[in-house]
Symmetry: C2
Subunit: 259 residues, 2 copies
């Protein structure tokens, strides 16, 4: 199994930054998901309202003639579809609350984590500045050595050569100091970064598990309501739709009402 | 099988009127059904537009973090649902055209029928007015006979009795005339009404058959699209939804993009 600790040492030791921002993006995704579900709920609510209006239209159509009883069927089935979509709205609103609750928990957890990994951030900053200083001292050491050699070759005065030698010695000491400092910083960085990478991985795994649960819940809710809606599409062979031309008794009954 | 011809002789011979208006109500039902489907199509169109907008929202959410790939799944499935509802709109609009075409045919057929049954309407009006006249002549006959008897009993002059006798004779002739007229009108009415009741029954049966076909078509269309929508609710276990915390390769791949 691939893991964060094996993968985020990164260029210029920026892996920490990447993992930290990845954690923060997790909260953005939670907010986005809540917005997405909220927008869907609004769409379903508008649809439900329109279908309720359509059911009212059905009951306002002419009650005269033999087709009249069919309007009752349309009215009832349309009302049922409207109520299914309203049920979906209710369930989505519950889900939004859960997502928001999780989002709030995320903020707290991220704040706590930020404090916990502050030492690692310092270690990162420390190694980054030491690497810069090490690079600089290495360059300075090279320059000073080359300068000393040049003076020797060109037969400069002893005084000039001694002066260059002191500078070269000083550069060598500084360079050696930063090599040691780098070794210590690297060890500290590696220890802290190993722990922190694991921490970020745990957070990420928990986050994705949570998001998966929410998406599952969303998908199941939509599926469940979809099934309910399917049960409310009336069959033409259903009792209510029994417009059978040969069933003149019904026709007579309908017409009898206007006699 | 009950039939119109057995049932619409009705009170005061008004069965014709009932059957004629029942035919006209058939056209109202057709117009109502077109309106109902039109309103449903408008609702579906609005829903489809909103879902398209929601799909755009999904693609505008943060592309950072490990959840980002899921937005593509939401975007695609939401677009598919939007396009299913748009397909429903298209099919409903086709159906509205069919209903309107049928409504136009109905108007023509009803106009033709009105001409064809004009003789029956005349026969109805004829028998109605003859029944009134018959009733009146019967009452007059009774009055005149009673009057003649009264004069005889009260010992009126011969001149008065003769005058009453002439009146009574005239009333008797008129009454007899209307009895004969009624017999002829009744025969004519029964013959024409029998044919017309059958004609109205044929029209009604054809109408209900046509309405049944339209309702069947509406129901099947809604069912078909409902099935299609069901196929576009993504399973969380589907490939696109594979937010598996342990699948760190994917996570790393996602994060790698921001590195």
């Amino acid at each position: 199994m691939a893991s964060f600790v094996e993968s985020f040492w990164g260029e210029r030791n920026n892996g920490f930054d990447v993992l930290y921002h990845n954690m923060k993006h997790g909260h953005l995704s939670t907010k986005d998901l809540a917005d997405f579900i909220r927008e869907r709920a609004a769409i379903e609510e508008a649809y439900s309202r329109s279908m309720t209006k359509l059911a009212k239209s059905a009951s306002n159509y002419t009650q005269l003639g033999t087709f009249a009883p069919v309007w009752d069927v349309f009215k009832i089935s349309t009302e049922k579809v409207a109520s299914c979509h309203l049920e979906l709205v209710r369930k989505l609103q519950e889900l939004i609350k859960e997502v928001q609750k999780y989002g709030d928990e995320q903020i707290k957890a991220h704040k706590k984590t930020k404090e916990e990994v502050s030492g690692t951030l310092e270690a990162v900053q420390n190694i980054q500045s030491i690497i810069q200083a090490l690079q600089k001292s290495k360059e300075n050491y090279n320059t000073k050595c080359v300068e000393q050699e040049r003076l020797k070759k060109e037969g400069a005065t002893q005084r000039e050569i001694d002066k260059a030698s002191i500078k070269s010695k000083k550069a060598t000491d500084t360079y050696k100091l930063y090599v040691e400092k780098y070794a210590a910083a690297k060890s500290d960085f590696e220890k802290k970064m190993t722990e922190t990478a694991q921490k970020f991985q745990d957070i990420e795994e928990m986050h994705l598990l949570h998001m998966k649960e929410i998406v599952e819940s969303l998908s199941n809710t939509v599926k469940e309501i979809h099934l309910q809606i399917g049960q409310n599409i009336p069959d033409v062979d259903d009792e209510g739709y029994s417009i059978k031309p040969e069933a003149s008794q019904n026709i007579l009954f309908s017409i009898a009402k206007i006699l």
